[in-house]
């Protein structure tokens, strides 16, 4: 088993075997989470700080639960309400926290690259819980685990990522991960929401949704991030739903056993028809949430092992 990372900042630095390692460990945590006694002591004695510079309920609670189930002391800091408002820089905030000796730092930040910057300045393991439009690695990993469990494999699948690709870090992490695992990735959306240079990354880009969904194994919907819209990307929500909302007619172009995914929270009637979202034969949206906790437990467990190993080596005087 190989997982050599000090931090989990994105999918880009990961080797395919490292991705497989995380998913394998996560599988075991899925089993644990389904038992009455859900505790492990993988993070016993460790301190996890969740620093969210951007609003989040789902991701933050998923990380919090994951940490608690592994026996860590978990602290949540809502950074919007705190020192940022007083003019403290990101680096000063990082140094302040670092002085409290946390072992795991879970960070979400509205600016791309901010988590990388922070990771340079602290001694603990840093997990990126989403930075700007850059990456959201645990989301891609939980999506991968969901696909692997539903489809029995994570390679040679045809996967359509649909919607607001431009503003989505979930899409970026997913297309990198799925590409690394040798799948065909299609991007489907209005051209105003598809960023430049995507075909150079090996993705196929479709502006017509029915064409884009033809014979795919997985349909991955994205939230239309209204709060990120400068305005003017699409004419209206209803036109968007008509052309790019996932309904039964469009889904009929995918393979009969294609699964439907959504990172949540959903805008029913904007990007996805409620009946599709609730169809237990097609939708794996609830599984995604379940896998989220397991994947985050796995990621933190693996990072903690590396952290302990490097601390032990340092104690024995070995240069690391």
């Amino acid at each position: 088993m190989a997982f050599r990372q000090k931090h989990l900042l994105g999918i880009e630095p990961l080797h395919p075997t490292e991705i497989t390692t995380i998913l394998d460990v996560a599988d075991s945590y899925v089993d644990l989470n389904r038992q009455a006694h859900k505790h492990s002591d993988a993070l016993k004695g460790m301190t996890q700080i969740n620093m969210f510079f951007e609003n989040s309920t789902r991701t933050q609670s998923s990380f919090e639960l994951a940490g608690k189930r592994l026996g860590a002391d978990v602290m949540n800091m809502s950074m919007q309400a705190s020192s940022i408002k007083k003019g403290e820089t990101l680096i000063d905030t990082a140094l302040t926290l670092n002085a409290m000796h946390p072992d795991l730092l879970v960070v979400r930040h509205p600016h791309s690259g901010a988590v990388d910057l922070l990771a340079e300045k602290v001694n603990c393991a840093v997990l990126n819980a989403g930075d700007g439009r850059h990456e959201h690695p645990t989301q891609a990993l939980l999506d991968a685990l969901t696909i692997r469990r539903a489809k029995g494999r994570l390679h040679r699948l045809s996967i359509a990522i649909c919607g607001d690709i431009a503003h989505s870090r979930v899409a970026r992490s997913n297309l990198i991960l799925l590409g690394k695992m040798e799948n065909r990735v299609r991007l489907v959306g209005p051209p105003t929401l598809i960023p430049a240079g995507m075909t150079e990354l090996g993705c196929e880009v479709y502006e017509d949704m029915e064409e884009g969904l033809k014979d795919v194994d997985v349909v991955m919907m994205l939230r239309l991030q209204k709060e990120r819209m400068d305005g003017g990307f699409i004419p209206s929500e209803r036109e968007y739903f008509h052309r790019y909302g996932l309904d039964a007619a469009k889904l009929a172009h995918a393979k009969p056993d294609a699964i439907v995914m959504h990172p949540g929270p959903m805008n029913r009637g904007v990007e996805i028809d409620g009946t599709i979202a609730d169809d237990i034969n097609r939708s794996v949206i609830q599984e995604q949430v379940e896998m989220g906790v397991a994947v985050r437990m796995a990621a933190m467990d693996l990072l903690a092992r590396n952290l302990r190993a490097s601390k032990n080596s340092a104690d024995q005087g070995i240069m690391v």
Binding site: S112, A114, G132, R172, I176, A196, G197
Partner: protein
């Protein structure tokens, strides 16, 4: 009377590179030749290059307002160490240089503190806000050599048209930043695969061409003498070539960073590589180098922009733009020489002769009667760049840790030596 002997004379006027001697007298160039040198105080050049000192069009000295980033004293020392003998300052200071009183203040400060020549540019509009023109006539009388709002584009075309028309009547040079401002607003990098992967706000390279197109139409309309501060994309070049062919009084510059770096150098959000306009694709970089070689682009500038650590140690989107470059201009440009994309006389045409000509200065050449502003350098001497050894107060160079070739051995302003490379710093130094 001083004679430089055994020097490779880099002459940008004749585009020649010959071994010979150069005599200076009372601060001006008196004679040059190839045979036996005349008598006088001899400076042995050991076959190294002697070229006209660099005229750097577009240097930010952070006076007034941000003297902790750069002062005339530190900028002067940095310039001398980089072979720059004339710095032409940008007015994008705090406050902007937009009244004769502020201009007189910086002129006084520069005269007191700087060891190299300093010329000043004025803002084109008050506070560089793009709505009302500055007192162009008074500013010209007070010594402004050009008028520019720097990286602020005058968005209102009507305002720009009037500024240009008024400037034309006074015969002054207007310098503009070609960008379509609504497209480039908030952008940190150039759009494309890299920007999309990094998730950074990006601008299409087409925004530059749109800026060039608009400004060229206005130059045609008003007859103004105009210079584009920085071009960086291949798509902007055909319009410039056409405008020149049609006889418009237009020139263009490029920053050294756009000639030597590309968008991928940003890597993992390295903010020292955040410049304005953002670094471009490799194809664009090569097109710019080619355009300098064939003369379509006239001027290479450092676009020296000092920033303190605090303004750079931020997430990429929030970090300040710009890089210090006075001391790295020449060694960075040597990369183009060593890759055979440019010759030394062509380089000094773009770094000394053309900017001097454009501003009506007599320096920037080796001809008789020109001021003895000279740089002696070893084009091959290798070194590893260490940003903490820079003489600038700010250390924000993208070349930190880079392997470079090309060391300035000595710099003279009006015949007075203002910089000498420390003797033990290089095996090929002077006087050994």
């Amino acid at each position: 009377m001083t004679v430089f002997i055994n020097a490779r004379l880099i002459d940008p006027e004749t585009l020649t590179d010959t071994l010979g001697w150069l005599r200076i007298e009372q601060g001006v160039i008196a004679q040059q030749g190839t045979g036996t040198p005349p008598a006088g105080d001899q400076i042995e050049c050991h076959g190294k290059c002697l070229a006209p000192g660099i005229v750097d069009l577009g240097v930010k000295v952070s006076e007034p307002g941000e003297r902790h980033k750069e002062s005339f004293a530190s900028a002067g020392r940095a310039a001398a160490a980089g072979g720059v003998t004339t710095i032409v300052t940008r007015p994008d200071t705090l406050n902007a240089i937009d009244t004769p009183e502020v201009l007189e203040f910086v002129e006084r400060r520069a005269a007191m503190d700087s060891i190299v020549n300093v010329k000043h540019m004025s803002a084109l509009t008050k506070d560089r806000a793009g709505s009302e023109m500055v007192e162009i006539g008074f500013m010209k009388d007070a010594g402004a050599v050009a008028f520019t709002d720097c990286d602020h584009v005058v968005e209102n075309t009507k305002v720009l048209q009037r500024c240009m028309t008024y400037a034309r009547s006074l015969g002054v040079l207007v310098i503009g930043h070609p960008q379509e401002p609504t497209l480039s607003k908030g952008a940190a990098v150039t759009s494309g695969k890299f920007a999309s992967l990094r998730g950074l706000p990006a601008v299409s390279p087409m925004a530059e061409r749109m800026g060039v197109d608009r400004d060229i139409a206005l130059i045609e309309m008003t007859g103004v003498k105009y210079h584009f501060d920085q071009l960086s994309t291949a798509r902007a070049l055909p319009a410039l070539e056409r405008a020149k062919k049609n006889g418009l009084d237009v020139t263009a510059g490029v920053s050294i960073h756009h000639l030597t770096l590309n968008e991928y150098d940003v890597g993992d959000y390295r903010t020292f590589f955040k410049v304005k306009p953002p670094l471009r694709s490799e194809d664009d970089r090569l097109a710019m180098v080619e355009a300098v070689a064939n003369g379509t682009i006239d001027i290479i500038a450092s676009m020296h922009t000092p920033q303190d650590e605090e303004s750079k140690r931020l997430p990429f989107e929030e970090a300040a733009s710009g890089s210090v470059a006075l001391e790295t201009l020449l060694p960075a440009a040597m990369r183009l020489i060593h890759s055979d994309q440019l010759t030394l006389p062509e380089l000094f045409r773009a770094m000394a002769l053309n900017p001097a000509d454009r501003l009506g200065l007599t320096c920037g050449r080796l001809s008789i009667g020109a001021p003895a502003d000279l740089v002696l350098f070893d084009p091959d001497a290798p070194f590893v760049m260490d940003r903490f050894k820079l003489k600038s107060k700010s250390k924000n160079t993208p070349f930190d840790g880079a392997r470079m070739q090309g060391k300035v051995l000595g710099t003279w302003v009006s015949g007075q030596q203002v910089f000498e490379q420390a003797q033990n710093a290089t095996a090929t130094g002077l006087n050994q």
